[in-house]
């Protein structure tokens, strides 16, 4: 069986300027901003896959290439075995994309919007499925309202509905819960999880790491256009290991550079909140003593299990105190 998504040696360089004659000649740009650098990835059918990374890491560029909105400078991408360039019609029928930006056509009602989107995919008698989506996303009462009249959260629901209107095997959600309320998140994830349980492949990008941790079976982390981690969520959490010791420091702050052991254990330090890696509970007393010896004043203590945020910070910033402190500064 073909992978749901296959990305092979994909690089993307945005040229410094979009020259008409260059594009007319369809030459590949040789200089400009490199958004993706030799990315390789396979997502199997039925997976709930997370794509994480800081702003500017290349997540949206990768999704744009997958959706045919952008062309890779080098490399090849396929969806359900169909090349997104050479077999773009089949590839696009296999893919539903929820864009990151809250965009809509102000001329139409919600139902008209969905009928039109369905028609673009050649499905002109699709009202049963449209009603089903409207109901599942809590949009039935808004079906005949103009898009302009909807709140931001409701518009976000319509974006999700538009991506699902042609029943794509692969669904890409580019930060679908950015700026939406808890109710929509719950409704959305219930519906998306149900689709995933039916066998739909889900590719999710999000800044809410707890969402990725709870939903995704596998995760890739992008940094500066490269994949820097690719594993199951469980394995990524296991790599972080142990627990997290959170120390709320006094006014004197973190004793930077006073203890090599403390600096090595420091994962993050922001607003006088120091997060340290804790291998096991027997280390607790020893670490607290070292902080006090180094001159740190501890005002509060928490011990938390490791989560995806720790894995993310570890991979993106490393565990060194220097990086964390530089970031805090």
């Amino acid at each position: 069986m073909s992978p749901a998504v296959r990305i092979e040696h994909v690089s993307k360089i945005y040229p410094k300027q979009t020259s008409l004659w260059r594009r007319m000649g369809a030459d590949a740009p040789v200089e400009g901003f490199q958004a993706l650098n030799d990315v390789n990835l396979e997502i199997q059918p039925g997976e709930f896959f997370g794509l994480l990374g800081p702003n500017g890491a290349g997540k949206t560029s990768l999704i744009a290439i997958l959706a045919g909105l952008s062309r890779p400078t080098t490399g090849r991408v396929s969806v359900c075995g169909y090349d997104v360039q050479a077999q773009f019609r089949a590839a696009r029928r296999a893919l539903g994309v929820v864009p990151q930006e809250l965009v809509f056509d102000p001329f139409f009602t919600v139902r008209e919007t969905l009928r039109i989107q369905s028609g673009y995919f050649g499905l002109r008698k699709n009202d049963d499925w449209i009603d089903e989506i409207l109901e599942n996303l809590g949009l039935t009462s808004k079906a005949d309202e103009n898009m302009r009249a909807l709140s931001g959260g409701m518009k976000r629901r319509v974006l999700v509905a538009q991506a699902l209107v042609h029943r794509p095997p692969v669904i890409v959600l580019d930060e679908p819960t950015a700026g939406v309320d808890v109710d929509l998140r719950r409704t959305l994830w219930q519906f998306i999880s149900r689709l995933n349980q039916m066998g739909h492949t889900i590719l999710l990008t999000t800044h809410y790491l707890e969402e990725a941790e709870e939903l995704c079976g596998r995760i890739a982390m992008l940094k500066a256009g490269r994949i820097v981690a690719l594993d199951t969520t469980r394995a990524l959490l296991a790599k972080v290991g142990g627990s997290r010791l959170v120390l709320h420091m006094g006014a004197s702050g973190w004793p930077q550079g006073k203890s090599r052991v403390l600096d090595e254990r420091l994962v993050d330090y922001q607003q006088r909140r120091a997060v340290l890696r804790l291998e096991n509970s027997t280390e607790l007393e020893s670490l607290l003593a070292q902080v006090r010896t180094a001159g740190g004043v501890i005002e509060g203590i928490e011990v938390l299990p490791a989560d995806l945020e720790d894995a993310f910070l570890n991979i993106m910033h490393g565990a060194s105190a220097t990086t964390a402190l530089e970031k805090a500064a």
């Binding site: 359900c80 029928r93 965009v103 139409f108 028609g119 673009y120 089903e132 149900r194 709870e214």
Partner: protein
């Protein structure tokens, strides 16, 4: 957030809960083309604001008729046995059709690009041919609506003459088609409303106004006659007028060759832009 377990496989109850019309996990490759929907959407887009897109240009043409007929009727002789009012009507029709064909495709694309909703047209499996024809045919359709509206109000001013109706149709469609295509090009090229206004005011408006709408080019000095013959819009209006009166400044076949050639030229350019994804697919 609700607790969900993505690794669980579907149970029989999940199977029973499948949405109506669920067709499985392969892309539906048998579905038809999206061209018709895109064309209908573009039609609906202007029809929903018909006061602005149809009625307003008809009223503008009506005002031109009132003023020019009042000032020039009986003072200007154009063709033998054709009064100035009757001469003016086809020119005004064609000028409004050309301007509205351009406005339809250019404003639709520009608005969609600025607001970002063009992504909904770029994500589906539409070819650049389907994209092109949907926008251009919708532009032609709006132009024909405007033309028919002006023809209807012109009946209050003069008795219509329809010497060669097929020529009217051919030049009406081809002329609007050229402008619809130019609208697509402008809609793709322009990144700001200012650039679009420049395209419209410094290229489209002069080309339509200086194309013999209000006069016969034979009444111009030789230099301006020569200049007019380099303007392809002149041939659309002249050929269109031939359909009404059976006489024109140049042969309708000559006009047809120029207009069809111009259409093919601009269409080739627009199709090339669309196929390379210029400013649409980075």
């Amino acid at each position: 957030m609700s607790a969900v377990h993505p690794t669980e496989r579907p149970t029989p109850s999940d199977e029973a809960a499948k949405p109506a019309g669920f067709i499985g996990l392969q892309p539906n490759l048998n579905a038809g083309s999206g061209f018709w929907t895109l064309f209908c959407k573009e039609m609906l887009r202007f029809w929903k604001v018909a006061f602005q897109t149809i009625a307003a240009p008809v009223v503008t043409a009506l005002l031109y008729l009132l003023i020019f007929v009042h000032v020039l009727e009986g003072r200007v002789t154009v063709y033998d046995s054709v009064s100035y009012t009757v001469f003016l009507i086809p020119g005004l029709m064609m000028m409004s059709m050309l301007q509205n064909a351009f406005a339809n495709s250019s404003s639709s694309l520009m608005q969609s690009r600025v607001t970002g909703n063009l992504v909904f047209v770029l994500l589906p499996p539409l070819t650049h041919w389907e994209f092109f024809w949907a926008y251009v045919l919708a532009a032609i359709a709006r132009a024909i609506c405007v033309g028919l509206g002006i023809f209807a109000v012109s009946l209050f001013f003069a008795e219509p003459r329809l010497a060669e109706p097929w020529w009217i149709l051919v030049f009406g469609v081809l002329g609007s088609g050229i402008m619809g295509v130019l609208g697509v090009i402008a809609g793709i090229w322009a990144e700001k409303f200012d650039q679009m206004a420049a395209f419209q005011n410094f290229l489209i408006m002069p080309a339509t106004f200086l194309s013999g709408v209000f006069y016969s080019v034979h009444s111009l000095p030789p230099f301006w006659q020569a200049v007019s013959h380099w303007n392809p819009i002149f041939y659309t209006i002249d050929g269109f007028r031939y359909g009404f009166f059976g006489v024109a400044d140049v042969s309708p076949w000559h006009s047809l060759a120029v207009v069809a050639g111009t259409f093919l030229l601009v269409a080739s350019f627009a199709l090339r832009l669309l196929s390379t994804g210029y400013k649409l697919r980075y």
